[in-house]
């Protein structure tokens, strides 16, 4: 379980996160929804210890972040985190060198799934394929949690479909996922928990299925309601 408790973060005088608290559980897909600049990426960066927070606490399975956490939590940022000059096989070798949780079998499975080639050079790939490599590198870790930052941002419809398929495949099952997006249509049906953010605060956190069953509302309906309020 990832617990984000009363997290605050400012850049200079601008408060990006005012008092953010939510919990992401294993086996669930938690989606942070909000327009650009509301602090979604900052939350993911903070969970991974890539951006220091000014207040609050983040716990992963009840413990603060340590170097071992990086074996347990995989982060897939919105841009590729390998060197442009690397081939995919070099990126595999790099991951294999440093992560004991690197699962070569799953990596090769994903390679076939995304129709990528080990010899492909990263800087020669399209934006969609770069995102797929990024996803692959994260998903191939035997991690309990996966954090994805805007995985659908700026990529073509076919790549989107392919990436969406990952969420319903065995590649995700049992793992906890935190995904950020400003465009939820693509994955609305996959989300277990939705967290709507605006202006550095959580406007509403809810389980869409429950709302759907009890009130007959979609995530977008709820989103409209809380934003218009």
């Amino acid at each position: 379980m990832i617990e984000v408790k009363n997290v605050k973060k400012s850049y200079g005088r601008k408060a990006v996160l005012r008092d953010i608290s939510f919990t992401a559980k294993k086996g669930e897909i938690t989606c942070l929804i909000g327009v650009n600049g509301v602090g979604k990426t900052t939350i993911l960066n903070a969970i991974m210890g890539l951006t220091p927070i000014d207040g609050g606490e983040i716990l992963i399975d009840g413990k603060k972040l340590t170097k071992e956490t990086y074996e347990k939590v995989a982060y897939i940022p919105d841009s590729i985190t390998m060197l442009p000059s690397m081939r995919i096989k070099d990126a595999f070798a790099f991951m294999n060198d440093f992560y004991t949780s690197w699962n070569e079998k799953r990596a090769n499975e994903l390679l076939t799934f995304f129709k990528l080639n080990l010899e492909d050079k990263i800087n020669s790939l399209s934006k969609g394929n770069k995102m797929k490599v990024n996803l692959l590198l994260g998903l191939a870790l035997d991690a309990d949690f996966i954090l994805m930052d805007e995985p659908f941002s700026g990529i073509d419809v076919f790549s989107r479909e392919q990436i969406t398929k990952v969420f319903t495949s065995h590649l995700i099952e049992d793992r906890g996922v935190i995904i950020t997006t400003h465009d939820i249509q693509e994955i609305e049906h996959l989300i277990d928990q939705a967290v709507i953010l605006d202006n550095g605060i959580i406007l509403k956190s809810f389980y869409p299925e429950k709302i759907r069953e009890e009130e007959g509302k979609s995530i977008i309906d709820v989103l409209r309601e809380v934003i218009d309020r």
């Binding site: 951006t51 220091p52 071992e68 956490t69 990086y70 590729i80 985190t81 390998m82 060197l83």
Partner: protein
């Protein structure tokens, strides 16, 4: 330790192409310069001694014989060394900033490695020191080659067969990068190491606090330099001369440098673990 070595190997591979290009430029320019000066000297000898106008003895009474020292003070020899020094100084900054500034945000990957973040610091530091020492080592090998080339082309009568050691010791530039004594080597490269560590810490201040971090970084570097110079400055101000014996000064300054290194490493560890941001 294993992760540190893997990171070091990775850093070396990343810079190796540029590094070898730099080495190729440095030593090809030096080599061309050596040949140019050898042939200029031979042409001059030929002109002066043409038609028996001058015997070799008379020539040497008026002009210097040709040896390694003649090469050391030429622009073609010193400018490539300067290029190497500047290149490696720039690399001290480049080694960090390329991970943040390049098209791909590799710093995410580095900071998310399941290893101590100080391993990244030590790997970058070791890579720089290895490149510096390798450059100096290759320079020494090339000095042997230059000496051989001189022996092949300059007739023995016009040659100054000064040993490489003597030639280096008498050159103030080369004597700095290739100290004659082991103790001088440790002092020169120990100070260099400390300076790189201080600069790394200053860079991490900037990476942690952005604009105001530049100020913190600069203040930290200035503070370290002032602290290092303090024993010297205080003595000169108070006594207008060096009050302490050379040995005492050496011990005092060594202690200060070790102190600066330890504080810088602890500060860097804190910044990398708690303050640095992608």
């Amino acid at each position: 330790m294993k992760n540190y070595l893997k990171l070091l190997n990775f850093e070396i591979n990343r810079f190796s192409k540029l590094y070898f290009l730099m080495l190729a430029i440095i030593f090809s320019v030096q080599l061309i310069s050596v040949f140019y000066h050898i042939f200029s000297y031979l042409a001059f000898v030929k002109m002066e001694t043409k038609g028996g106008r001058m015997t070799p003895e008379q020539f040497l009474a008026e002009h210097f014989p040709f040896g390694l020292s003649n090469v050391f003070y030429t622009r073609g020899f010193l400018i490539p060394i300067l290029i190497g020094v500047v290149g490696l100084i720039l690399y001290v900054f480049f080694i960090w900033y390329r991970d943040w500034m390049a098209r791909n945000t590799f710093i995410y990957r580095l900071l998310m490695l399941p290893t101590s973040r100080m391993n990244i610091f030590y790997a970058k530091l070791s890579a720089i020191m290895l490149f510096v020492l390798t450059t100096v080592g290759i320079q020494l090998i090339f000095l042997v080659l230059y000496k051989k080339i001189i022996e092949w082309f300059i007739p023995v009568v016009y040659r100054d067969d000064l040993s490489i050691t003597m030639a280096v010791v008498t050159s103030p530039y080369l004597n700095t990068i290739v100290p004659a004594h082991l103790s001088s080597f440790f002092v020169a490269y120990g100070l260099g190491l400390a300076a790189v560590i201080v600069v790394f810490t200053a860079i991490l201040f900037e990476r942690s606090f952005q604009l105001v971090g530049i100020l913190y970084g600069l203040l930290y570097a200035v503070f370290s330099f002032v602290l290092f110079s303090l024993p010297l400055v205080v003595q000169l101000l108070m006594f207008e001369t060096l009050y302490l014996y050379a040995d005492e000064m050496f011990i005092l300054m060594t202690a200060i440098v070790i102190g600066i290194i330890v504080v810088s490493l602890l500060t860097s560890r804190y910044l990398l673990n708690h303050k640095v941001s992608v």
